[in-house]
């Protein structure tokens, strides 16, 4: 018989305001096996843990139940506390009476009833708990970074500088990401390329960093410390070892009509291309959908002009399988599609552009060589209207509910740069709120208004009408002046909301990492573990976790690197002892469990089985504890009931259900 202690936490008023904690405590004392019960304001605090330790010593407890928050929050805390007090950590059960009870109910009587039931279930389980001992697993001293933008580059550099091998997988032909498309960066207005390209070069030259561009993660298996990842290296059709990056192939390529992804479709590129001049690696790829050779079999001009003989039309996708101890996701963002916002006439006029397109126009290496001009007729605009929050902070399903966070600052930057370079251009910005928290950010915005004379108007644009004469009529409201405005502009720039890259969903599924309704990756704890995914060994870097600017991204990238380094620095990890186990007396070696095991953890061996009235050589299932993840698929498949999950045995679960139904 167990000697169980029940500890009911108030969690300040989080639980105690909705659940009668005294009643839960009193009721606990009537449960079988319970010899001690008490409540306390904060059970997770030092004083609370001391109470648990004291009760274990005084009452000689063999198991405990803590009625508190979710086990995801404090199971480890209480297990560690119990272990220090001398009982096996797996003799601790959590009854979640906060997230599962007090937070979601209002009626005290009903909530108390439910809390009592949850407590009973946990007590019933502890009555059947047995001490478990974790095993050990090895740590592969290599990290994978998915995404080669500034977030991925910074994370890789930091991990590599600590002495660990890092692979970067980037799906486009070059690393650099969004930052490589930008012109200047706020709030210091230093040129984006000038601060990014040295980092790109550093990553490429680092002897601990290996970069796979034009590659995608295809499959992930394994677990923290020991992931196995398949990387698809897409056929580049150019031999990376032979190519000298001379660029002659791109000059000669006759297929010139594909919209340039890097320039946001503002101009075109050839079928064989490097996305931009500073690309790393400086080796082009052939876009097989656009290439005449691939479409018709004729052409082959690039191969003819290539002195290095690097063009290889026969190249095939290659799958690389590698082991990693830690994985960092740095998949970044994209700008939302504007097809649902046609009141701004984005699809109707070439002079209505997104801010990212303006970055390309303002960039000296961009399609207009940095000259500010209208895309329709090449004229220099005289009146520019910026519209903020296009799709951000949106109340309906057309856009995003969140603030994209970077738009206020880059719009102020654009407005200031334009007024600086073209002082006779009128710049008007329509905003809902100007949000500029951040070091030197508000000062930056004030400069745009006070020094550069940018006309900020609080109010939203209702409609943009392209006029037959090429101008744009902008209808808007001025909320401070309580006026409806109708103004003529030559160019309208939309601060379109940002959203996580489309590929993140698939990657999250492969990593079993959770994502929220907006497709941002969820952190293990929003405040206390902001760079870790709830999935052990997976870390988050950059906008894949939430909107952020470059300084924040770099800071988070460093933090993710530190977390990954902390993992890689360990030689061994404790494994979860809640693994499957076959009862050899009941197992008849039917193989069904191995068929359903996603981890390949089950094998079979023939051995001497001895039991009451049994003594024979028989084929039985054997579970490899290092591989088993305790998912339980085998236990429900086993036709004879021989397979059981330690710590979650069928008996324990039935006992919980019985207690709930009692």
């Amino acid at each position: 018989m167990q000697r169980i202690g029940v500890f009911v936490c108030h969690c300040g008023s989080n639980i105690a305001a909705t659940v009668d904690v005294k009643k839960v405590t009193e009721t606990a004392l009537m449960e079988p096996g319970v010899v001690h019960a008490e409540d306390y304001q904060y059970m997770c605090s030092e004083a609370g843990q001391a109470k648990i330790a004291a009760a274990i010593a005084e009452k000689n407890l063999t198991g405990i139940v803590v009625c508190s928050c979710s086990p995801r929050m404090h199971e480890t805390t209480f297990r560690t506390c119990a272990e220090r007090a001398g009982i096996n950590p797996y003799m601790v059960e959590i009854a979640n009476i906060r997230e599962h009870c007090s937070w979601i109910h209002k009626d005290v009587e009903e909530a108390t009833k439910k809390a009592v039931i949850l407590m009973r279930a946990a007590v019933a389980k502890v009555n059947l708990n047995t001490p478990l001992k974790p095993g050990e697993s090895r740590v592969t001293k290599r990290a994978l970074v998915i995404g080669g933008g500034i977030a991925g580059i910074q994370t890789a550099l930091d991990i590599a500088d600590a002495g660990y091998e890092v692979d970067i997988v980037e799906k486009t032909p070059s690393i650099g990401g969004r930052m490589s498309q930008l012109d200047k960066t706020f709030p210091t207005l230093d040129c984006s390329a000038c601060i990014l390209t040295p980092k790109m070069v550093e990553a490429a030259a680092h002897d601990k960093i290996n970069i796979y561009t034009y590659s995608e993660v295809e499959q992930v298996s394994g677990f923290v410390g020991d992931f196995t990842v398949d990387i698809r290296k897409k056929a580049r059709s150019v031999d990376m070892n032979k190519c000298t990056g001379c660029g002659l192939c791109q000059e000669k390529c006759p297929s010139k009509k594909t919209p340039s992804e890097f320039n946001r479709g503002l101009n075109t590129r050839t079928a064989i291309y490097t996305p931009f001049a500073q690309a790393i690696p400086n080796v082009p790829v052939i876009d097989r959908e656009a290439c005449i050779k691939f479409k018709t079999g004729k052409c082959g001009l690039c191969s003819k002009v290539c002195a290095a003989g690097a063009i290889d039309y026969e190249q095939k996708d290659e799958i690389i399988t590698r082991k990693y101890g830690a994985i960092v996701v740095a998949t970044g963002f994209d700008v939302i599609k504007l097809d649902k916002y046609d009141e701004y006439a984005y699809s109707q006029s070439r002079d209505v552009i997104t801010s990212l397109e303006l970055e390309r126009i303002m960039n000296a290496a961009g399609p207009t060589k940095g000259h500010l001009q209208r895309l329709s007729d090449g004229r220099e605009p005289k009146n520019i209207v910026f519209v903020q929050c296009v799709g951000s902070r949106c109340a309906d399903e057309r856009g995003k509910s969140y603030c994209s966070k970077i738009c206020c600052m880059y719009t102020a930057k654009h407005a200031m740069l334009i007024r600086d370079k073209y002082p006779d251009v009128n710049v008007t910005v329509f905003y809902i709120d100007v949000r500029t928290p951040g070091k030197n950010f508000d000062e930056f915005y004030r400069r745009a208004v006070e020094e550069y004379g940018v006309n900020y108007i609080k109010g939203q644009v209702g409609k943009v009408c392209p006029e037959p004469d090429g101008s744009l009529t902008v209808y808007a409201s001025d909320l401070l002046d309580n006026k409806q405005l109708r103004m003529s502009a030559d160019m309208v720039v939309l601060a379109a909301a940002i959203e996580p890259s489309a590929s993140v969903r698939q990657i999250a599924t492969m990593l079993t990492a959770s994502i929220d309704t907006n497709n941002f990756l969820t952190e293990a704890h929003p405040k206390l573990r902001p760079v870790e995914s709830p999935t052990a060994g997976v870390f988050l870097s950059g906008v894949c976790q939430g909107p952020k600017d470059i300084p924040e991204t770099v800071a988070q990238a460093g933090a993710a690197a530190v977390k990954a380094i902390g993992l890689l620095a360990k030689d061994k990890l404790m494994t979860n002892p809640c693994t499957a186990k076959a009862d050899e007396l009941m197992c008849n070696g039917c193989s069904q469990c191995a068929n359903v095991c996603p981890y390949g953890a089950i094998s079979y061996e023939t051995r001497l089985v001895m039991g009451p009235g049994v003594r024979e050589n028989r084929r039985v299932a054997v579970v490899n504890n290092a591989l088993c993840q305790g998912c339980g698929a085998c236990t429900v498949t086993c036709p004879s009931g021989a397979m059981d999950l330690q710590g979650f045995s069928n008996r324990q679960i039935i006992a919980e259900v019985d207690a709930i139904c009692r």
Partner: protein
């Protein structure tokens, strides 16, 4: 294909053209429009007051009549369509309005929004199909550059009317293509003509109508088409000299070769 048909008052007075050409075209396309008996005025404007059901009862009677005939209800006038569709939505989704309306009317079978309300343009798009329509055109309006004028009532509120994308609609442009003409897309096609404000503030409505016609003309339109008698009235009054405006059914009848017969009826 048989449908219950709700013409509405204006189609019996000022907007007879909208009605008669629709009937002739429908017949040519194999659609039977059966005018519901003893229909009543829809009210003209969707009543926004949520504490008053009296203003909605007439629409409910029309909707229930179609339900009792076991037919979908086809409309032509934008305003009627708007009112009927929105009242129907109230009867389907707003418990309070449904209960009170039914308590008052004491219909044999209480009405709960069962009728499907279709605009004639939706019948052309979703039932006949513009590709099929194109095949039935005997007199294509080749070379005509036509601006579709949607106004507001057909498109908004977008989710509820579910007629087309309220910011970038295409149904009338597709219709114009089907009858062999060339659509002219102009940004004011989904802007308001002023509606009933023309009775009180003529100048305001005029200002809006001049924006609409000016833009359409600037983009090369030779005429406008509409489904709304009030829009047609306002534009004719304020800006009729800028561009002519017709009911879409008139051009449809012309394309199908039934216009003359309809005129002689």
């Amino acid at each position: 294909m048989k449908y219950s048909y709700y013409p509405g008052c204006t189609l019996k007075s000022k907007a007879t053209a909208l009605d008669k050409y629709a009937r002739a075209s429908a017949a040519a396309l194999g659609i039977e429009l059966e005018e519901i008996d003893e229909w009543q005025c829809c009210g003209g404007v969707y009543p926004l007051g949520s504490d008053e059901i009296a203003t909605k009862l007439a629409s409910v009677r029309n909707l229930a009549a179609a339900r009792d005939r076991g037919q979908e209800l086809v409309t032509l006038c934008s305003a009627c369509h708007h009112v009927l569709k929105r009242v129907n939505d109230d009867m389907r989704n707003v418990d309070d309005i449904r209960t009170r309306a039914n308590n008052y009317m004491q219909l044999e079978t209480p009405y709960a929004g069962e009728t499907k309300v279709l605009h004639f343009l939706e019948v052309l798009r979703d039932v006949i199909g513009f590709d099929e329509l194109k095949k039935k055109v005997v007199n294509p309006l080749t070379g005509k550059r036509i601006g579709a004028y949607y106004g507001c009532l057909l498109l908004r509120p977008g989710k509820l009317m579910a007629f087309d994308d309220p910011e970038n609609p295409t149904i009338m442009e597709d219709f114009i293509r089907a009858i062999g003409a060339e659509p002219v897309v102009y940004p004011y096609r989904n802007e308001c003509c002023g509606g009933y404000i023309s009775l009180k503030e003529k100048e305001r409505s005029k200002y809006l109508c001049l924006d609409i016609t000016g833009s359409a003309k600037g983009w090369g339109a030779q005429m406008l088409i509409t489904a709304c008698p009030l829009c047609l009235y306002n534009i004719n009054k304020a800006a009729g000299d800028v561009l002519p405006v017709y009911y879409f059914t008139e051009l449809l009848a012309e394309a199908l070769g039934v216009k003359e017969a309809a005129d002689n009826e």
